[in-house]
């Protein structure tokens, strides 16, 4: 435990800050602590993640021969998805509450305040195993995958 973490816990004990504030401060310090642990030689095996999220829509070969050539090919860098997710962390407290309320109204029990930067990495890591193949009734092939 670092000096800063001890100081936060002391402030909490002396009731100068509340539990929420202490949690927020500790989560800010967490990446620094992890970096120190990494520098100390405690290296974790890094899971290989894909570089791009791909979405492709390819026409049915029969339709293609008939001249119907609707095609979609989207390639989104995973780093762009990660950066986009980080934007949600910038949402002001009141906006987060409103988003939470709107989601609850739709029956989705999800609190944006619980979303932490380390969750983004976990989400991206999980996304690297994603593979969706859908064939529509008219033979179009929709594929979502990470490469």
């Amino acid at each position: 435990m670092s000096e800063s973490q001890k100081k936060i816990l002391e402030l909490l004990e002396s009731k100068k800050i509340n539990v929420d504030e202490a949690y927020r401060l500790l989560s800010i310090l967490e990446p620094e602590a992890k970096a120190r642990e990494g520098a100390a030689g405690a290296e974790r095996p890094v899971k290989a993640t894909g570089k791009y999220l791909r979405v492709t829509v390819q026409p049915d070969p029969e339709h293609e021969r008939a001249g119907d050539v609707d095609r979609v090919n989207v390639r989104v860098p995973m780093s762009l998805i990660r950066s986009g997710m980080k934007f949600s962390a910038l949402l002001p407290e009141e906006a987060r509450d409103k988003v939470g309320d709107a989601l609850r109204d739709k029956g989705i029990d999800f609190d944006m305040r619980n979303l932490k930067p380390e969750d983004f990495d976990e989400l991206i890591e999980a996304l690297s195993e994603l593979e969706v193949d859908v064939r529509s009734s008219d033979g179009e092939m929709v594929r979502v995958f990470v490469e």
Binding site: K51, Y52, G67, D68, V69, D70, R71, V72, N73, V74, R75, V76, P77, S79, L80, R82, S83, G84, K86, F87, A89, L90, L91, P92, E94, A95
Partner: protein, 105 residues
Amino acid sequence: MKRPPLFLRLRIHGEKRRPGCWLPLFILLPLAVALLIVLSPLILLAAIILRRRERRNRKVQLAGIVLRMLFSPGGIRAGFGLLCSTPGLRIDVSDNDGVFQISVI
């Protein structure tokens, strides 16, 4: 190392084929930043006005939140990170009537 995008390749055409265009972002982005710095007093003024009026109107409230998000130190850092993550982005949609292609290099 992350770097801002250099070029944006845009190709939009209908049945009649047209060549695409290459936008030199390495020239346009510094110009946009310079423009933003020049306009920053106006942006600050807009943020203050929106802050005062935002209780009355939801759209104004939303505009105020977005403005504060984008022009906070964290917002600028995240925006730059987002910009630096765009190289490699490619959107390519084509059908019988035409083609729409965007790629960031």
